[in-house]
C-alpha cells in the first residue's frame, strides 16, 4: 500500500468513526440541510488538509471536534460574504423544488427541534461549548478542542447551559 492510499484509508476511517459527531456539529450551526451539507463537506475537507498534522491517534476524536467546531464558526461567519456558493439550478430542478415546497413532512421529534431552536439562539462560542458538552466531552477535552482554558470552559459552559435551559422553557409548545 503506498503512502497516498494509506492516508486516504486513514482519512476514511476517521470520517467513518466521527460521521455522526460531525453531522451534529453541522446541525448545531446551520438549520438549512443544504447548508449543513456544504459545512459537512467543508469540515471533511479541513480534516483532509489537516490530517498530516494529526500525530497521535488516541487524540483523534478531540482533534476532529477541534477541526469541526473551528470550521463551523468560520464557515458561518464567512458565509455572510462568501463568493463560492452559487448553485446553478436547471429549470427542471427549479420546478421540482417549487412543486415540493408545500409537501414537507413535519419533524417527528419536537424535543430535538426545541433543543436546536434554543441552540441557534446561542452565540458561536456557547454553541461550541454546548455541542461539545452534549457530545460528553470533559472540560479538559473541551479546553483542548477550543483553546479556552478549562476554568473558563467551566464558567462559560455553566452560563450557556443556564441560557439554553431558559430558551427551551420559553420556546412555544
Amino acid at each position: 500500500m503506498n503512502s497516498t492510499s494509506a492516508d486516504e484509508q486513514k482519512f476514511l476511517e476517521l470520517v467513518n468513526e466521527n460521521r455522526n459527531r460531525i453531522l451534529r456539529v453541522c446541525r448545531a450551526y446551520l438549520w438549512n440541510s443544504a447548508d449543513q451539507d456544504d459545512l459537512y463537506q467543508e469540515i471533511l475537507f479541513q480534516i483532509w488538509r489537516g490530517l498530516p498534522g494529526l500525530k497521535e491517534k488516541q487524540f483523534a476524536n478531540t482533534w476532529v471536534y477541534r477541526v469541526a467546531i473551528n470550521t463551523a464558526i468560520s464557515f458561518v461567519r464567512k458565509r455572510a460574504s462568501s463568493s463560492d456558493r452559487v448553485v446553478q439550478f436547471e429549470h427542471a430542478d427549479l420546478t421540482r423544488t417549487i412543486e415540493s415546497r408545500q409537501a414537507t413532512e413535519e419533524n417527528t421529534d419536537d424535543r430535538v427541534a426545541n433543543l436546536y431552536n434554543a441552540i441557534y439562539k446561542l452565540n458561536p462560542l456557547e454553541k461550541a461549548l454546548v455541542a461539545l458538552f452534549l457530545e460528553d466531552l470533559t472540560y479538559e477535552q473541551i479546553a483542548e478542542a477550543t483553546g479556552i482554558s478549562a476554568n473558563n470552559v467551566g464558567v462559560m459552559l455553566h452560563r450557556a447551559k443556564r441560557r439554553l435551559s431558559c430558551l427551551m422553557t420559553e420556546a412555544p409548545k
Partner: protein, 501 residues
C-alpha cells in the same frame, strides 16, 4: 430536562447520512484541493490583472512619449500600480489563515488579524491606492504636449471626483462590513480568553424564524448572478474606451512630436537684441523690395555664394511666382525664432501666410533664404481624424474588444450571486441576509440607463436595493418569484419588466 436527558436526546437524534461512497468522498476531497488552488490563483490573477493592464499601458507611453513631464507621469503611474500590487499581496501574505486543526482561539486571532489588516487597507486607501495613480495620471495628462486646457481641467476634475467616490465606497464598506466583524471577533476572543460574558451587541442575533426542521430543508434559495451581457455592455465599453484613449494619446503624441519638429522652425532659441535687429533690418529690406516688385534689388542683397546659387533670372522667377500666388506682404512677424544659422519670420500676405528663413553672413548680406507656405492648423485638425482611425489603430480594436469580453466573462464567473429567491424571501448577495416576503411592504423601481433595479421597502421605510432586469435567466427568475412569493406580493407586479421568454 437534566444534563443526561439532553445528552441522550442529542446523541440519539435521527441524522441524515450524506449518501457518498468512500471513493466519492476521496474524489470530492481531491477536487476541492484542486479547486482551492485554482481559486487562490484566480484571486491573485484578478487582483493583479488591473495593475498589469495599467502598468503595460503607461509603460508603453513611457517609452514612446517624448514629453519629459508626461513620461514622468507614466513612470509614476507604473510605479504606483506595482506598489499597489505589492501592497495587496503583502497584506495577504502577512495574514495567513489559521491551520485547519487550530483551536477556536487561534483561529479567531488569525481572523481578527486578517480583518484588521483589511480594515487598515481600506482606511488608508487614499494614500496607497488613490494617491499614486492620481498623481501619476495628472502629471501625465498635464505633461502631454497639447494645449487643450479644457480637456486637462475636465480630466482633473473627473479624476478627483472619481477619487472621492472610490474613497467613500471603501470607507462605507469598511464601516458596514469590516468594523462589525472586527468588533464581533474581538468580543468573541475576549470572551474566550477571559471567560467573561460575550458583549452581545457585537454578535448578530438571528431573527427568530420559526420553521420546522423539515421545512428548513426547502429554503435553499434559487440563485441568480448578474447576466453576462449586462456586465459586457460596461466591461467591453470600458476596455474599448482604453483602446480609444490610447490611440488618441498616441496620435496626439505623434502630432505633438511633429509639431515640435516644426517648433524648431517657429519656437527655437532666442536671439540677442543686436542679432534680432540685424535680421529685422534685412527682412524689412527684402519685404519692401518684394512689394515694389524690384526683384533685382532683392537679388543684390544676396552674398556671393547665394548670388551664385540663385542668379537674377531664377530669383525673379521665384519671387514672381510667390507674388502671383500670395500677393503682397502686408506685414511680417519676427524674428520668431532661430534654428542654427537660420532666423525665422512669419509673412502675412494678401492670400495666405508664408514663413521666411534668413541667414546672414558677417557683412550682413544674405547667405540663405527659404520661403515656404506656413503650415495650416485647420488642415492639421482635418488630418487628425484619419490618423486616429488609421488601419493600424483599428487593427488593435479587435484584441481590445476580445479582452473586454474575456474580462466580463471572468467577472461574471468569479463574482458571487446577486439575488437568491426562496420560500423565506429574497436573499441578497450577503449570503445570510434574507428579507422575508412579509417584510417587503412596497416595491419601487430605480432606473439607471438600461437597467432597472428594485427598491424593497419595509414597513418602517427601510429601503434595500435589489438588482432586477440585470439578472440572468429571466424565465427561472419569474418561475422562482411566482413559485415562492405569496400570491398577492407586490413583487409580482414587476415581473413584466423581465424579458418575455
Amino acid at each position: 430536562m437534566n444534563d443526561d436527558d439532553l445528552k441522550k436526546l442529542w446523541r440519539q437524534q435521527p441524522l441524515r447520512a450524506p449518501a457518498l461512497s468512500p471513493a466519492q468522498v476521496i474524489s470530492a476531497m481531491q477536487n476541492k484541493t484542486t479547486q482551492l488552488r485554482r481559486t487562490l490563483l484566480a484571486r491573485d490573477v484578478r487582483e493583479l490583472l488591473a495593475c498589469v493592464i495599467v502598468g503595460v499601458i503607461f509603460g508603453i507611453y513611457f517609452f514612446i512619449n517624448r514629453a519629459p513631464i508626461a513620461r514622468l507621469g507614466a513612470l509614476i503611474t507604473v510605479a504606483g500600480s506595482i506598489f499597489i500590487a505589492w501592497k495587496i499581496l503583502r497584506a495577504r501574505r502577512t495574514t495567513p489563515p489559521a491551520k485547519p486543526d487550530a483551536t477556536v482561539v487561534e483561529s479567531l486571532r488569525a481572523e481578527l488579524h486578517s480583518v484588521r489588516t483589511q480594515s487598515q487597507l481600506l482606511r488608508s486607501v487614499s494614500w496607497w491606492y488613490l494617491l499614486p495613480l492620481t498623481v501619476g495620471t495628472l502629471v501625465f495628462v498635464w505633461g502631454m504636449p497639447f494645449n487643450n486646457l479644457v480637456f486637462k481641467v475636465v480630466f482633473t476634475l473627473v479624476t478627483l471626483a472619481l477619487d472621492v467616490f472610490v474613497y467613500r465606497l471603501n470607507q462605507r464598506a469598511r464601516s458596514r462590513q469590516l468594523l462589525p466583524v472586527e468588533a464581533q471577533l474581538e468580543s468573541l476572543l475576549r470572551s474566550a480568553e477571559t471567560g467573561e460574558p460575550l458583549d452581545e451587541t457585537h454578535i448578530t442575533n438571528p431573527r427568530p424564524i420559526v420553521l420546522s426542521m423539515a421545512a428548513a430543508d426547502q429554503v435553499k434559495p434559487v440563485e441568480f448572478k448578474v447576466a453576462f451581457w449586462q456586465i459586457a455592455i460596461y466591461g467591453v465599453t470600458g476596455i474599448v474606451g482604453i483602446w480609444f484613449f490610447l490611440i488618441i494619446g498616441l496620435t496626439v503624441d505623434n502630432q505633438g512630436w511633429k509639431t515640435k519638429e516644426q517648433a524648431v522652425e517657429t519656437f527655437p532659441q532666442t536671439l540677442r537684441a543686436e542679432e534680432a535687429n540685424r535680421y529685422s533690418v534685412a527682412a524689412r529690406k527684402v519685404v519692401d523690395l518684394f512689394n515694389t516688385g524690384d526683384y533685382a534689388a532683392v537679388q543684390k542683397l544676396f552674398g556671393p555664394s547665394m548670388s551664385e546659387a540663385l542668379p537674377l533670372q531664377k530669383a525673379s522667377e521665384f519671387f514672381t511666382g510667390l507674388a502671383t500666388q500670395f500677393g503682397n506682404i502686408e506685414k511680417f512677424d519676427g524674428p520668431i525664432g532661430r534654428s542654427g544659422e537660420w532666423v525665422l519670420f512669419r509673412l502675412h500676405c494678401q492670400r495666405g501666410e508664408l514663413t521666411m528663413r534668413l541667414a546672414l553672413d558677417a557683412n550682413d548680406t544674405i547667405s540663405g533664404i527659404i520661403v515656404r507656405p506656413a503650415p495650416s492648423t485647420s488642415r492639421n485638425s482635418v488630418g487628425l481624424i484619419p490618423r486616429i482611425f488609421s488601419w493600424q489603430h483599428l487593427l488593435w480594436f479587435v484584441p481590445f474588444f476580445l479582452v473586454g469580453l474575456l474580462y466580463s466573462w471572468l467577472l461574471q464567473k468569479l463574482t458571487e450571486r446577486a439575488v437568491g429567491i426562496s420560500t423565506l424571501g429574497v436573499h441578497l448577495y450577503k449570503g445570510l441576509n434574507v428579507i422575508l416576503w412579509d417584510e417587503i411592504k412596497e416595491v419601487r423601481t430605480l432606473r439607471i440607463l438600461n437597467i432597472r433595479s428594485l427598491w424593497l421597502i419595509s414597513e418602517s421605510g427601510e429601503k434595500t436595493i435589489m438588482p432586477w432586469t440585470s439578472l440572468e435567466r429571466h424565465s427561472d427568475l419569474k418561475a422562482a418569484v411566482e413559485g415562492f412569493a405569496p400570491a398577492d406580493h407586490p413583487l409580482h407586479r414587476y415581473l413584466s419588466l423581465l424579458k418575455r421568454i
